[in-house]
């Protein structure tokens, strides 16, 4: 009882709307300042990088040769030529990567959401997380060990795509899984109540409902793998020529084009480095923005 009496002796009885002590206010102000600063500190590099790449790379992108010609026969001393060969390579490899990884990823997500119970589902979910964390160079080494050492095939555009599949899969699985979980259970139940079998419910009701979200995930996954350089270093040697064949010959890609020109000190090559970097950023941003716009205008 004495303790209550002691507490009652303090002036805390009744509503106290005093301001916090000066020391506490100062601490609060410092924390507020630091937190605001940290945000702007995070934005500075983004703006700086975009500014650098745009100012140094834009002029070449404005001419049509950049988009229509390759680097064939053009040495580091010469101005001219374009990135057509690299853009073609990047787009081809990205398309094949998407064609392989999207069906597997969607079925895996369907398994995790609609079918998966017990140990296998937990294992799959765990392995998807591990795949998310696999360094791109490790994925490339794995495909090298499989494609070149074990199967005895030559490095080609397709082997790059295989390595990229490993990197794109987990991104699409996770985003698709999230989208499928957002589909209300009532829709599934209504479908079952009409006698629609499970597979048809999933393919005609659940997936269409989540479709835009799945597309967003695919685009973001593509944006991630399109800029990957490590697999290209191991599996996709650079060439200055146009190559449409994914199964034979070297195939250029934007990251390897940057990597090729960056080591040169002559101005024409330096300009091309930044122009290729800007092209790559534009491609990635385009995919990102498309993904976000789709996500925004069609919520599940």
């Amino acid at each position: 009882m004495t303790s209550i009496a002691a507490a009652g002796a303090t002036p805390l009885i009744g509503p106290s709307i005093e301001r916090p002590s000066r020391a506490r206010e100062i601490r609060n102000a410092i924390a507020t300042g630091l937190i605001w600063t940290s945000f702007f500190a995070a934005v500075v590099p983004l703006v700086w990088i975009l500014y650098t790449v745009i100012t140094k790379g834009l002029s070449l992108l404005l001419s049509s040769t950049w988009w229509l010609e390759s680097q064939r026969g053009i040495t580091v001393r010469h101005v001219g030529g374009g990135a057509y060969h690299a853009i073609v390579g990047t787009l081809l490899q990205a398309t094949v990567t998407a064609l392989i990884s999207v069906p597997i990823a969607i079925f895996t997500a369907v398994y995790l959401v609609e079918y998966g119970r017990g140990r296998l589902a937990r294992a799959v979910s765990f392995m998807v997380d591990i795949l998310t964390g696999i360094p791109s160079i490790v994925a490339a080494l794995f495909i090298y060990a499989l494609w070149v050492t074990t199967l005895g095939l030559d490095r080609a555009g397709f082997s790059v795509s295989l390595a990229l599949v490993l990197l794109m899969l987990p991104v699409v699985v996770r985003s698709t899984e999230e989208m499928l979980r957002l589909v209300p259970n009532e829709l599934r139940e209504a479908s079952y109540a009409l006698g629609v079998p499970k597979w048809k419910t999933i393919s005609r009701v659940v997936i269409p409902t989540a479709f835009s979200g799945i597309v967003t995930g695919v685009l973001l996954g593509l944006a991630r793998v399109i800029g990957e350089t490590a697999p290209l270093l191991i599996l996709g040697p650079y060439t200055k020529e146009i190559n449409f064949n994914l199964f034979s010959g070297n195939m250029a890609a934007l990251p390897t084009m940057i990597n090729w020109d960056r080591t040169q000190s002559l101005q024409p090559a330096v300009d091309r480095t930044w122009a290729a970097a800007l092209t790559l950023i534009l491609l990635v941003l385009l995919l990102n923005i498309a993904g976000r716009v789709i996500a925004r205008f069609s919520r599940v």
Partner: protein, 326 residues
């Protein structure tokens, strides 16, 4: 997919279910595909480990040096290669630690800003801006780091080594090109969006009752964050940091571009060096004999194991938090 083959023929059962199309075969095929894809994912990860192991073991058996402790990398004689990883491990861990030391506090700040400080109307677009950092390809970070950031980092390094140079970690190593320090700074920017995104998510989930309770007791906004938001999000932040660490350990091209290869070794972050990933990338053209390839794949295997462990720990922390909060 094996489940579809072992089943009895569907047609035998049609007579018993004449009125509705049960779609059993469709169900079998569909669930088989889904299950098969899931199994494929598990098999893929297992295959990564298995293939790297198969390629690495012959080279490791031939290795005349101690793989874990000898600081050599000499593959010129295919019959008697000598290679060890301590230098690679040091550079990898040093860069990752610098990146973490910068990125984690910054990411917590950014995440708190986005969840508790930014006006609600701009919080979303601001979050997109931070996410855009993750969209910039790593080769462009590398390019920007070495061509634009290098002179600034030289100034910072000069200042640090002149004031703290008596600590071996900050000793001037006489490297004028890219250092572990510069790579760490650039990597910090690269992992910032990952750590921010996950921290933001857990901070946003703080029960409003906790926050309102703290405020009602007279806490300032910072005290509310310290007593309600941070304790609630701690596990999430730890796992976010681990995921960032996993990314930092495996980053390849940015580090390959930035960090200069040096002959000498010392424990200064102002020295050059090579990480697991950059060592492999720098020597991609040398994969001509099985022994050489095997040595680099052995380095890749160590990297795989490192990132596997880091990611698994992150995952377990998240799982335990889920179990705890639900």
């Amino acid at each position: 997919m094996t489940t579809t083959t072992g089943m009895p023929d569907f047609d035998e059962h049609v007579a018993y279910q004449p009125l509705v199309g049960t779609g059993r075969r469709g169900d079998q095929v569909f669930s088989g595909l889904a299950r098969g894809s899931g199994i494929l994912v598990v098999a893929l990860v297992a295959a990564v480990g298995a293939f790297l192991l198969i390629e690495a073991i012959p080279a490791l058996l031939k290795n005349r040096a101690n793989f874990l402790f000898d600081r050599v990398w000499d593959l010129d004689d295919p019959a008697a290669p000598k290679f060890g990883i301590p230098d690679l491990l040091w550079a990898t861990v040093a860069i990752a630690m610098i990146a973490m030391a910068i990125a984690v506090p910054l990411a917590i700040g950014v995440a708190l800003f986005l969840t508790n400080y930014a006006p609600t109307r701009v919080a979303r677009p601001f979050a997109y801006v931070v996410d855009l950092l993750a969209a910039v390809p790593s080769i462009i970070y590398g390019l920007w780091g070495i061509k634009v950031l290098l002179p600034y980092s030289r100034d910072v390094q000069g200042f640090l080594s002149s004031t703290l140079g008596w600590i071996p970690l900050f000793k001037d190593a006489g490297v004028s090109q890219g250092t572990l320090f510069l790579a760490g700074v650039v990597l910090a920017i690269m992992i910032l969006p990952i750590v921010t995104a996950i921290s933001r998510e857990v901070f946003a989930q703080t029960p409003p009752a906790h926050k309102e309770g703290a405020l009602a007791l007279g806490a300032t906004r910072w005290e509310m964050i310290r007593t309600a938001v941070l304790p609630y999000g701690r596990a999430g932040v730890i796992s976010a940091a681990m995921l960032g660490l996993g990314r930092a350990l495996g980053e390849t091209i940015a580090i390959t571009i930035i960090v200069s290869q040096v002959a000498g070794f010392n424990f200064s972050i102002f020295n050059g060096g090579q990480t697991f990933a950059s060592k492999i990338a720098n020597n991609a053209a040398e994969f001509d004999s099985p022994t050489k390839t095997g040595a680099f794949i052995a380095a890749g295997l160590v990297l795989f194991v490192l990132t596997f462990v880091v990611n698994a720990v992150a995952r377990i922390v998240i799982e335990r938090r889920k179990a705890f909060t639900e």
